[in-house]
């Protein structure tokens, strides 16, 4: 279409979303992030430039926590990428098999954890993993692996991974559903052509389906990235704002929350909170930009 005329319809299509989003999301967030450049001293807000960031990155009081949270966050993200997404994709691949019976039933059942609120998830898993009430120990006992049991949530070495796996359990439904939707849109004909060509089962997945759903895999990865670096609720629900034991489950979200809103006797510190939010924002933005500019623009899309 030639751009000789002003294309009003583009404006019309974009306007409602941009308006609502800018007013209710961007404006408040920007307004808050601005605080990162200020410090509150005796009820007065003074402009301090990038001082807060210096504090965050170089003052050991803050930087230790920050790097700890960042490192934990990376691990948290890795577990999701390596466990959640492959399982989600695999489930979607199986579920999208056209002749599969009870597919809708399986799909709904597997999606149920995703629907649950964090309160329930936290309660259920604490109950199950608790050394006291015996569910996990007796189940391990049943398969003769009782010796493997440990109070995972209470041990520095395991707590984060355990929580990450609980989170995986809860959110597997997300990649599953998205990939499922993507797989459904692959034209049956192409798969038929593949079958005639002898490309069936696993190799059909690798050679035909996967390349065609690559953009969706990209979305899933970036959503996982963004979601994990913003994650907060599950850890908060299970381990509290101090993300115990000994901050071993502290991720950027809990660190931010604790700092921004305060916790117990610790008062909220909007300035440092915003500073952390700013740092998180920068990290996520870099990730998203890499995706948008380096990967998405290069990704071949196929019209189906």
């Amino acid at each position: 279409m030639q751009a000789h005329r002003f294309r009003w319809h583009i404006v019309v299509f974009l306007a409602p979303a941009v308006l609502v989003y800018s007013a209710v999301m961007i404006f408040p967030l920007a307004n808050t992030l601005r605080l990162a450049l200020y410090n509150e001293i005796d009820q007065v807000r003074v402009f301090v430039g990038l001082d807060n960031f210096r504090t965050l990155f170089f003052d050991p009081l803050w930087s230790d926590q920050f790097w700890n949270a960042l490192g934990n966050n990376f691990w948290f993200f890795c577990v999701h990428m390596l466990v959640q997404n492959p399982i989600g994709v695999a489930l979607a691949a199986i579920l999208s098999h056209p002749k599969l019976r009870f597919a809708a039933l399986y799909r709904s059942a597997i999606f149920i954890p995703t629907i649950l609120s964090f309160v329930i998830v936290g309660f259920a898993w604490k109950l199950i993993l608790s050394p006291i009430w015996g569910i996990a120990p007796s189940m391990l006992d049943f398969v003769g692996l009782k010796s493997l049991f440990a109070p995972w949530l209470g041990k520095e070495a395991y707590a984060l991974t355990t929580l990450a796996l609980v989170s995986v359990w809860q959110f597997v439904g997300i990649p599953m559903m998205l990939i499922y939707a993507a797989l459904l849109s692959i034209p049956e004909e192409i798969l038929e052509a593949g079958e005639i060509d002898g490309i069936t089962g696993i190799s059909a997945f690798w050679k035909i389906k996967l390349p065609l759903i690559l953009p969706s895999i990209g979305i899933i990865s970036i959503l996982t990235f963004v979601g994990n670096f913003n994650a907060f609720d599950l850890i908060y629900a299970v381990q509290g704002a101090l993300a115990g034991p000994d901050f071993s489950t502290d991720i950027l979200g809990t660190f931010l929350y604790r700092t921004f809103f305060g916790f117990q006797l610790q008062l909220g510190d909007p300035s440092m909170g915003s500073t952390i939010a700013g740092a998180m924002f920068a990290i996520i933005l870099i990730g998203v930009c890499i995706y948008l500019f380096a990967i998405q623009t290069r990704m071949r899309r196929y019209q189906l």
Partner: protein, 395 residues
């Protein structure tokens, strides 16, 4: 028309009490004022309240956390100075101290209740194993040992998963005995004592000894787990706060007793943590200041104290007029006030104003002490360093 006052509170637990007892009592005697008790999930309370106050949508009456959280609200102009309210004279200075400016010139919340630490125990279990209530630390560990040997009960119900349990029911419970209550607490504030001093480190060493008597996997045991372990009769001793009384009363079907933190040597003075915990103040921007003050005056009255104290055994009213308690456990707890030196939690006043936050650090330290991941000395050193980093008197 009627004015309606909305109360902001974190006390979800008390919703029924307010709806069924307190509000009817108040409304019966005060025409034209309606009360709405609107609690927020406790964990979110501070954050939500602050946001609402900043944006101007908070309720008229505000339930006050003790010390700095409320002080910050006052400083920010969100709470009204209530010093000249007549009914404030119903409270001792100590009671008011939790909601005053550092120089004591302004009081901004009406004190409502305090909580006392101690140990609740399963009387049946004690009978079964044939042990007596301990008064000294030695006896205390002997009792624990006896239960451990018996094997039918987990000697003590406590977990470190939630961290605050270890600090509040552990460290702050037995600690005052070591640092001699107010004496040590004030000295710490002045900078005369340090957290590396033996009286501040020793409690960690004692806590470390507890580990052997906690249930399997106490590292992942949460606070509700501990409560349930005890009320289900699986544990013999529960390091407690008095707030547990009403809950435990309805849940445990065995007889419970309480004992105060054991002293080091027989005959020593005992110290208890009698911690001012709940106050109630007025939103400076309320549209109905008169009604709000009327309500607060009523809260400061003995009438309220008696309703509240009896409805919520374990939350002890701070009013000068003593309240007659009906509940035996509550009676036991409050009786310690006359036997022992009371103090408040060491970290609450002034010392948790900066970053790192001493209270939060104490949580981690207490949990670490019990789990044995650090030695008491290391913990003391770390806490001291943290405090000294921002608190001038400790530098």
């Amino acid at each position: 028309a009627d004015v309606t006052l909305t109360i902001e509170s974190w006390r979800n637990d008390d919703l029924k009490l307010w709806q069924e007892k307190i509000i009817p009592a108040f409304e019966a005697s005060h025409d034209g004022i309606k009360i709405k008790f609107s609690p927020t999930a406790p964990a979110e309370y501070n954050a939500i309240l602050n946001s609402k106050l900043d944006a101007g949508s908070a309720g008229d009456i505000i339930t006050c956390r003790p010390f700095d959280a409320s002080l910050a609200l006052y400083d920010a102009g969100h709470l009204t100075d209530l010093s000249d309210m007549e009914a404030m004279s119903n409270f001792t200075d100590v009671a008011k101290s939790a909601w005053q400016t550092d120089d004591g010139s302004a009081s901004f919340c009406v004190p409502m209740a305090s909580v006392i630490h101690g140990f609740i125990y399963n009387k049946d279990a004690f009978k079964e194993v044939g042990v007596k209530v301990p008064t000294t630390e030695e006896e205390f560990f002997a009792v624990l040992e006896a239960f451990k040997a018996d094997g039918n009960y987990i000697p003590m119900a406590m977990g470190t998963n939630d961290q605050w349990e270890a600090a509040t029911m552990g460290y702050q419970n037995i600690g005052p005995t070591y640092w001699k209550g107010e004496e040590g607490r004030l000295a710490l504030i002045k900078g005369d004592q340090k957290l590396t001093d033996p009286q501040w480190v020793a409690p960690y060493a004692t806590l470390a000894k507890w580990a052997a008597y906690l249930g399997d996997g106490f590292e992942a045991q949460t606070y509700p787990d501990s409560q349930n372990l005890f009320t289900l009769g699986r544990a013999a001793i529960y390091p407690a706060g008095s707030w547990e009384i009403s809950g435990f009363n309805t849940q445990a079907d065995f007889e419970m007793g309480a004992f105060k933190p054991p002293v080091l040597k027989a005959g020593d003075t005992c110290y208890i943590s009698d911690h001012t915990d709940i106050g109630i103040g007025m939103n400076a921007k309320t549209a109905n200041p008169e009604a709000a003050k009327t309500f607060l005056s009523w809260v400061a009255s003995p009438e309220f104290a008696s309703i509240f104290g009896n409805a919520l055994p374990g939350f002890f009213p701070l009013s000068k007029t003593p309240v007659e308690m009906a509940d035996p456990l509550a009676k036991e707890f409050i009786s310690w006030r006359s036997e022992c030196e009371p103090t408040i939690r060491s970290t609450y006043q002034i010392l948790s104003r900066g970053t790192p936050n001493l209270e939060n650090d104490t949580w981690g330290a207490s949990a670490a002490a019990i789990k044995g991941t650090s030695t008491p000395e290391e913990l003391g050193k770390k806490l001291q360093e943290g405090l000294a980093s921002w608190y001038a008197p400790q530098k």
